[in-house]
Subunit: 309 residues, 4 copies
C-alpha cells in the first residue's frame, strides 16, 4: 500500500493531491492544512471525482497521527501572495511566514512517528528544507527539497525551444538556490547528446535568466504556479516509493557547504541516496559556493536553527 | 493524433488542461482565454512540467483557427466569483456573464471550422449548453453539457458512504438541471446490484440534498470547484475520442422538452449517440419535466435564442 | 510501497507481471516459477523494458521469503497445454497437474510468512482456490479466485455487442464455476440501466454460451488466453491494495455451500470483505447450488483437503 | 482520434496491441495477420479485457483498407522459431521468411493508402526496414526500425547494474545493426551525467557483449522476447503521434551509408525528423561503417531491392 501525506493544501499541495488521486498513485493520502475548511473542501472535491476514476484513494484529513506509516510527506505550505515578484525579495517574501510554519509543523511531524521521506516544496525552498531538517532532527538524507528540479525542467524547456527540440532531450542541471542565486551549470548541459557549446548562436545568459524567471513568468498571469511544481513533487515521491535510484537535481544537504542547496543527487527509498559530484568549472564551483553560503546565512539566523546545525 | 480545445482557463479549464497534459491524453491542445496573460501563464506552467512527463503535448494558445481539426472542444468559461452560494440564485449568478460569453465565442467557434464535439461546463450548465447549441447552430448531438455527470458522482459518493461501500458500486442517475431543480431518480439507483429500497434506514432526502449541495460544500472551503468537474469533462471527452458508446448522465437535448437537461445518454464520436429512456416513476417524470421547463424558460429569453430554437 | 508476488510465469503470470511493471502499479514484484530459466527470462525481459518506462519496479526472483511483506500474491501456475478444449473435461485437464502444484506451493507460501491476500487464477479455478485455502489454512477471506470475473466481462462484451452498446454499460453477473457449470444470472443483468428483459429478440441462451465458451474461442486461435485474464487479476489486486471495497464477481467461499464459487463479493484490503447476496430466481439459485456442489465434490477428494474443510 | 495498425500478431505484435489497449493509447487499432484464427483470437482476448479497462479501443481485424487513416503502422511479423540462437546466423534465421513477408505486405500497405509512419520490428531489423522502405517506396523518413532502441535499453540496464544505479540514469547509444555487428559507442555513454570513463574497473567489453546478447539471454528461457521490444515499439509510436521530437536510437536511413542502420535520430510526426550526428571516435566510425556495409549487402541482394535503392 502506498501512503503519502501532504501538508499545505493551497494551489500546490492541492494539485499534488489531485495528481496522486487522478492517477491512482497512492492508496492512502493524508491531507493536512490549518485552514480546516480548505482541507475539507479539497477532500470533498477529490472524493467527488472518485466515482469517475478507475482507482480509489482513501483520503484522511488533518490527522498527523496518520503520518506514522506514510512513506513520503510533501510539505507545500506557504502563502504565494507573500511573494512579491516585482521586488528583489522574490521567494523570500514567504520567509517570515514559512519559518513560523516550520516551527509549527516540525514537532507535529516528529510526534506523529513519521518514518518516511520528507520532500519540501515550501519557499524559499532550500532555506526551509534545511530548517525543516534541523527542526525535525531527521537524518539529512530523509529530508530534501524540490530545489532546482523545476528550474532544471525550465532550463530544459528553454534550451529545447532555442535548439528546436524537445526539452526532454536536454540534459544537465541548474544548481544552487531555488531562487535568484541559482545558475545553469552549462558545462553539464547537452542537447541530443551533444554539449551545448556545439550549438552556436545561443544566448546562454538569456536562457539562464529565462529559467530563473520562469516562476515569475507564470505568476505574472496566474498569480501562482502549481502544475509544474506539483508534477516535480510527485515524480520525486514516486522515485522514493520505487526506490528508483534516479538522478535528479534537488535541494540536498551538502556537507561541504553545511546546508541544503540544489545539485544532482540520487533519489531512492532513503531519500537522498548520494550526491552526484560533477566536475564543474571553477566559475560554476564559485557560484555554487556563493549560493550555498547565502542559503546557509538565511537558515542559521532562524530560531532554533543552531540546535541541529 | 488526439487534439482537443479548451475555452476558459480559470480553475476548471486549467485543471482540464493539466489532466490532459499530465496523462498524455492529447497530442495537441488549443487553450483559449480572453485574459491573454492568464492563458500564457497556463501554457508556461504546463510546458514547464513537460520535461518531467513521459508524454509530450503541443499547446497552442488563443488561436481559434486551430480548432478546425480538434475532436473535442470543452467550454469552461465563467467567473466562479459570480456564483453566490448563499443566495437562491446559485449557479445563475453567472447567468448574465456567461450568456455574453456565449454570444462572443459561438461565432468564433463556428468561424474556426470546428467540426468536433462541444462539451460545455459553463454554468448554469444546461442553459448555457442549450444557448451554445442555438448560437453555433451545430447539430444538437454535437453539443452537450457535463450536466448531472458530476451530481451523479456526488450521489454515488454519498450513497456509497451511507451504505458502507465504494461510490463506484452505486449505479443510477441524478436527472434534471445541474442546479437547484435537479433530483435523484431513486428508481434507477442500485447499490452493489441491489435496488436502493433494499437498504433500510437511509435518509434519501438528505442524500439527495447532499448531492445537490455538493458544489457548495466544496466552494465553502475553496471558493470554487475544479478537480471533480475537470475529471468529468475529461472522461466525457475521452468517450468521444474513443467512440466509446458509454452511458453517462449529461446535459443532452431532449426533443420532448425542447431543451437540454440532465439525463442518461450514450456518448460516442457523434457526441450524443442516443438518449437512454428509463422507466421513471410518475413523480420523477414530473420533476424532470419541471426542471426542463425551467431550463427552457431561461434559454428562450436570451438574445438570439429563438433563431435555432 | 506496493509489493506483489506472482507464482507461475507462463503466459498468464508473465502478462500479469508485465501489466504491473508497464504501468508502475507496484514498486516490488516477486516472481516465482519452478522453471528457473523461464523465471530468469521473464525478469530479464521486464528489466530490459525498464529504461523505456517512466516508473521503476524492482523484480525479485524465486525467493519465497520475499513474500513475507507482499500485499497480494497471484497464483497463475498450470499448464494450459493440459486443457483439452475439445473434450468435456475443459479446464479439468489441468486438475491433476495443478492439485500437485497446490500441495507443492502451499506450504512454501505459509512458510514465507506471507500475510497478504492470495488471488488464484489456476484452473480449475474454484477447485484450486478452495484447495489453496485448505492447504494454506489461511482465513477464507484472504484467499479468493478470479472465478467468473472474466466470464462476466465476456458476458458484458457479448451482451453489449448484441444490444449495440459498450460492454461497460452492461451490469450483472455470471455465477458459479469458472467452467462448464457457470451460468448468467439474467435476473441481475441490465443494459444502460434497463433490465435485459426490456431488450426483445435477444438469444440469451446463445449469449450465455458465448460467455461460457469465450476462453475456448480464444484458445482456438492462440492456444492460451492471457490478456483479459491478466487484466482481471491486476484489477482485483489493485482493489485489494486500495482497500477499494469494489463489488466484483469472484470465486469466494460461501458458507452456504461449503466451498468457493463465483458470485459477487466486495473486495478490499481483507480480500473478500463480504458476499453480495442478490435475489436470484429459483432456477438461478438451483444452478448456483448445483455448480457449487460440483466444485465441492472435486475439492473434497483431494489429498489433505479434509484437514481445513 | 489515435489510430495505429499492427501487422504480425505473434508474441511481439500481440504484446504491442495489448500495451496500446491496456493503457488506452489508441482509439482504433487495426490488427493484421495471415493466420486468421490467431488474429481473431488476439482480438477476442483484447475485447474480453475491455469491460475491465477504463478506456475503450475499437479493434479492426485483417482489413488493410483500414490503414488508410492510421498514423502509425508497426510491423512485427516473423517467426521467432526461425532464429537459431546457437548459430552465428542469429536474427538472420528469419531472413528468408521475412523477406518474403515484406514482398507480400508492402504492396498491400501501399494499396491501402496508408499515409502514416511505418515502424518495423521484423528481424533482421535493419535489413527488413530498408527492404520495407524500398518495396513500399515510401519516403525514407516515413519508415524506420526499432533498431538499437532496445539494445540501448539493455546497455543502459547493464551499465546501471555495474555502476549501482538505475539504467534510466545512463545515457548514450548502441549503434549499428540490431544484431551481431552492433556496438556500444562508449564515447557517448554517461552515467549520472559523468562520462563512463570516470567509472574505473568496468569491463566495457563484457557490458557490450551483455547488451548484444540480451535477446538471446531472454530467449534461452522463454524462446522469444516480447515485453521490452513491445514497449520500445509503443514508445516510438507515441513519439510520432505526439510529434515529440524525441532523440532515440533507431534504425534510420543514413545517406552516408545508403542503408538503414542504428543511430540516434529525432522522432516526430514525420517519422525520422533528423539524424543526430555525434562525434564518434575513429574506431566507432569504422565500426558503424562496417555494420552499415553489412546491412546494405544483405538488402541489396533481395529481389526488387534495386528499384528504390
Amino acid at each position: 500500500m502506498r501512503k503519502y501525506g501532504v501538508i499545505g493544501l493551497g494551489q500546490v499541495g492541492a494539485t499534488v493531491a489531485y495528481t496522486l488521486v487522478q492517477q491512482g498513485i497512492v492508496d492512502e493520502l493524508v491531507l493536512i492544512d490549518k485552514n480546516e475548511a480548505l482541507a475539507k473542501a479539497q477532500k470533498l472535491d477529490l472524493d467527488d471525482a472518485s466515482p469517475r476514476l478507475s482507482s480509489t484513494t482513501k483520503i484522511i484529513l488533518n490527522d498527523y497521527d496518520a503520518l506514522a506509516d506514510a512513506e513520503v510527506l510533501i510539505v507545500a505550505s506557504g502563502n504565494i501572495g507573500a511573494i512579491d515578484m516585482n521586488s528583489s525579495k522574490g521567494r523570500f517574501g514567504e520567509y517570515d511566514l514559512n519559518q513560523a510554519i516550520v516551527r509549527d509543523i516540525a514537532p507535529k511531524i516528529v510526534a506523529s512517528g513519521f518514518k518516511g521521506i520528507l520532500i519540501d516544496i515550501m519557499n524559499p525552498c532550500d532555506v526551509m528544507t534545511d530548517y525543516l531538517q534541523r527542526m525535525t532532527g531527521f537524518p539529512r538524507n530523509r529530508v530534501f527539497g524540490t530545489g532546482t528540479f523545476l528550474d532544471t525542467a525550465r532550463m530544459q524547456k528553454y534550451v529545447g525551444q532555442a535548439t528546436g527540440t524537445n526539452g526532454k532531450n536536454v540534459s544537465g542541471y541548474v544548481y544552487g538556490e531555488h531562487g535568484n542565486s541559482q545558475f545553469v551549470a552549462w558545462s553539464t548541459v547537452s542537447v541530443n547528446g551533444q554539449p551545448i557549446k556545439k550549438f552556436p548562436g545561443l544566448n546562454l545568459d538569456q536562457l539562464e535568466e529565462d529559467a530563473r524567471q520562469g516562476a515569475f513568468a507564470v505568476m505574472a498571469g496566474k498569480h501562482y504556479t502549481n502544475f509544474a511544481i506539483a508534477t516535480c513533487g510527485v515524480r520525486l515521491a514516486e522515485a522514493v516509493s520505487a526506490d528508483a535510484q534516479l538522478a535528479c537535481p534537488v535541494s540536498a544537504f551538502d556537507p561541504q557547504f553545511g546546508t541544503y542547496v540544489g545539485m544532482p543527487a540520487v533519489i531512492g527509498k532513503n531519500g537522498i541516496e548520494s550526491l552526484i559530484q560533477l566536475e564543474l568549472t571553477a566559475d560554476e564551483q564559485a557560484s555554487l559556493a556563493a549560493s550555498a553560503k547565502f542559503i546557509k546565512s538565511q537558515v542559521d539566523v532562524l530560531p532554533g536553527a543552531e540546535v541541529n546545525a
